[in-house]
Amino acid sequence: DTAVSQTPKYLVTQMGNDKSIKCEQNLGHDTMYWYKQDSKKFLKIMFSYNNKELIINETVPNRFSPKSPDKAHLNLHINSLELGDSAVYFCASSPGTGFFYEQYFGPGTRLTVT
């Protein structure tokens, strides 16, 4: 059984389009995250939600909008895609907040903007 799943695994789209990435966790965790990993493997947190509420919102363009319909899902919607948005996006979850809890990562979504 997949603990943290993301769809799609690959996403190729043109500049200016709007796209969404979905994330679901079946671990019963309260906290979910979105990370961006660039071509140099640098991993940076974007958002964190706890029980559907936003608790961390790093310096991310407002074209990125996370949405958490329930605590098992955290989707990422991106408007007006730009070339620089090309990266691998990882969803993660943990039992609690504050980063003292082990995070479980999804397999990633490779976004390519052309």
Partner: protein, 110 residues
């Protein structure tokens, strides 16, 4: 946030040898550190963590050492196996955020 860096971007070791992956951090206020392993095409996987009130923590074949004086963190892998080949990240918790280092690619030579 403060930078979290690694001394070596790549490391090759012979199967069966011990591996040591190093990480430097710059924020003395960081109170928690984590090592992650990322295999090709997969998400990062938690390996081991350590709080700032500890100097050493051991897991199964892995040991993390924390030297707060010089702000240095290391991951030691005993009897390295081919399955250990991956990119390893250290991460530093600073206040309510988590910062990752740039990663070290470990290659195990059979």
């Amino acid at each position: 946030g403060e930078s979290v860096g690694l001394h070596l971007p790549t490391l090759s070791v012979q199967e069966g040898d011990n591996s040591i992956i190093n990480c430097a951090y710059s924020n003395s206020a960081s109170d928690y550190f984590i090592w992650y392993k990322q295999e090709s095409g997969k998400g990062p996987q938690f390996i081991i963590d350590i709080r700032s009130n500890m100097d050493k923590r051991q897991g199964q074949r892995v040991t993390v050492l924390l030297n707060k004086t010089v702000k240095h963190l290391s991951l030691q892998i005993a009897a390295t196996q081919p399955g250990d080949s991956a990119v390893y990240f250290c991460a530093e918790k600073e206040a309510n955020n988590l910062f990752f280092g740039t990663g070290t690619r470990l290659t195990v030579i059979p």
